[in-house]
Symmetry: D5
Subunit: 91 residues, 10 copies
């Protein structure tokens, strides 16, 4: 089933920049692997912000929480989750 | 280029129900045609609401405005537009 | 899987009171049946408001949208949906 | 009587991680004990966030404040309290 | 136990003025009776608005909902309920 | 004349805990003295939060500002002030 | 004592235009008289909106409520009241 | 001097469509004339909404209010005004 | 021309108190001088907050920005600017 | 195609002032170069705030994100992006 996830990253003052870069790199790899697994369908950058719009295809809220809370930048994220269903206008 | 469009429908008291159904049916046809044209990539129902999340692939804001403002239910829509760019984690 | 659903009812001026009472009565019956089916686990009144907090146990967002959008008072509802997962402190 | 409590945790930059883990572990034990006592009826994780939805069955606002303000992570919590009453649609 | 109740009245266009005056008069009588019963401790007008701040001393959320939802102007109210407990600085 | 004052306390990371306790203790004494003086009529704890609802009976905004800004925890307060007048339903 | 009052006017659909003009004209006269009485010190138009910023010099919240709630357009007003005190930088 | 003006149009249910079209047409003519006069520098459509972003070059808030409040659709507008000054990065 | 300026001061944790007092004292002198120059017409304390309401009479947004951004506490200010025009009810 | 970009700068406590000045100077040079390139059409200071309103003429969201996220003060920015299209009233 599909979930839209809106993520914004806010790094507080005092976090080491090298650490942030390391977490970012690890996050990119993790999200790529989840795409290869067919669980993270889409990820787009919100233009002009450190934020993204994603569509995940998962077995439910348990898997969603496990995936999002395991992301390396999770402690610095604002997350909105919107469960999606089929739209009558979808082909 | 990609635009995320969040649409919520609010029908005010006093609008004729048959009219709303006619507009809805026309809107579904219009969105289907735009999907066939490769301009409206995705449309999902926000579960539990009269609202949807859509991704459009267009030539720019002009085409975006022309498409959204031509939708039959446009007078009753709240619309949010988010320009999207490629995310470094996208495969 | 579990979804928390927060519903507030706002009846606009001009809706017939007898109609509202009829819709309310039908809604109560529908929600009771969904409880008997084991799909609507809890419904509580938010004290002091025409609003409720509910917990539903469903197969996913499709079933959620089908159930909520079929409620007789759906046209007058503001709905928030929160997917729930297991908490490590739950017994 | 029932209270719905929405809790979100926000740990500011500079708090020691080991300390947070110790507080979290103590909090889990405390919430489990309150469940065994029949005072904390439900706790669910809000999927994708460090947040939870809880239902407590207490003698009133005094007991509510005593319990919530004694939680080890209370200094880092945003708390919303919603008093609940019986809904006419509840079985 | 104590509940703080913030009430704002919004009369939509189209409601008959004589009806509003009748409802207001009935509401005043009802609130006075609840004060005499020792259940509605304080009611103050929020200066400059059709709104009030009230303190009620009740047996719990059930009684609170029963009282507030029985007020003649309830259909036109925005209501916020805040459960109160004893403050350590209170004499 | 009466003023409703809603106060929430937010202690930023880095403030010494012993200092906060000292300020809190001093604040409690100050508020108690103002109650004995007949100027601070009521103070209630907002259940579940480090926040309070208070009613002060003062000579005007000058005295209000002097009292609130002299509270030991004032640098960490969010304050809302609502001037109150007599309600026609008050006994 | 001084109160800052921010007023915005919102006329709902269906109110007779001639009636609004009559109420507006009466309101202007009433506000002028209050200025002559030394009770309404300043009134400015918020540029670009049907809204105003006013400073009143009154005996307290009772007089404030009596004055604002007697304004002919009061049923269509959104009102914010801010009690003012002397600023240490004022000459 | 420059003012940024953000305008959104909301037509309430019950306003005659022909009337709206007439007001829209008159508004377009009025805005064009103000552009020819060098007072309305830019007007852009906010893509996907009945809203616009404008930059006006005026003698001050008096002229701003006179121009905006004379627009035929003013009764249905939400207006935000932002005074602009020269930016150090402007060529 | 007139501008209403609403200023709230928020000093983050870690700023030296003596420095804040020095900046405050300098700011008071600067605002007093601007009053003597006839450019800062009014300044009032928002009762109960570290905030003020001011009315400035300036040549336009350039002078406004120059004055506000030169205030010693500017780095710690939240500022709202509202251009004012003559109200038809003003004497 | 045109994008309106609203940028506010918020420097957290603890960032070195000389560093901020260096980043500001570099940002001004970068924005000037983008204006010479015909990509950054307008930049105005929001009077009274460390914020600006800008209009960019770009090939799409990719270029927008590349430009905004390369600005030296990007880590301290709040950014809002509004895609613009031609307005029927534009000359």
């Amino acid at each position: 089933m599909l979930f839209q996830v809106q993520i914004a990253i806010r790094i507080p003052q005092g976090v080491d920049k090298t650490e942030v870069e390391k977490l970012s790199a690890a996050e990119i790899e993790q999200v790529k692997q989840l795409q290869r697994d067919g669980r993270w369908l889409h990820i787009w950058r919100v233009a002009g912000k450190w934020a993204n719009t994603s569509i995940l295809d998962l077995q439910g809220p348990e898997e969603l929480h496990q995936i999002i809370s395991s992301l390396p930048l999770f402690p610095y994220m604002e997350v909105d989750v919107i469960p999606l269903s089929r739209h009558p206008a979808a082909l």
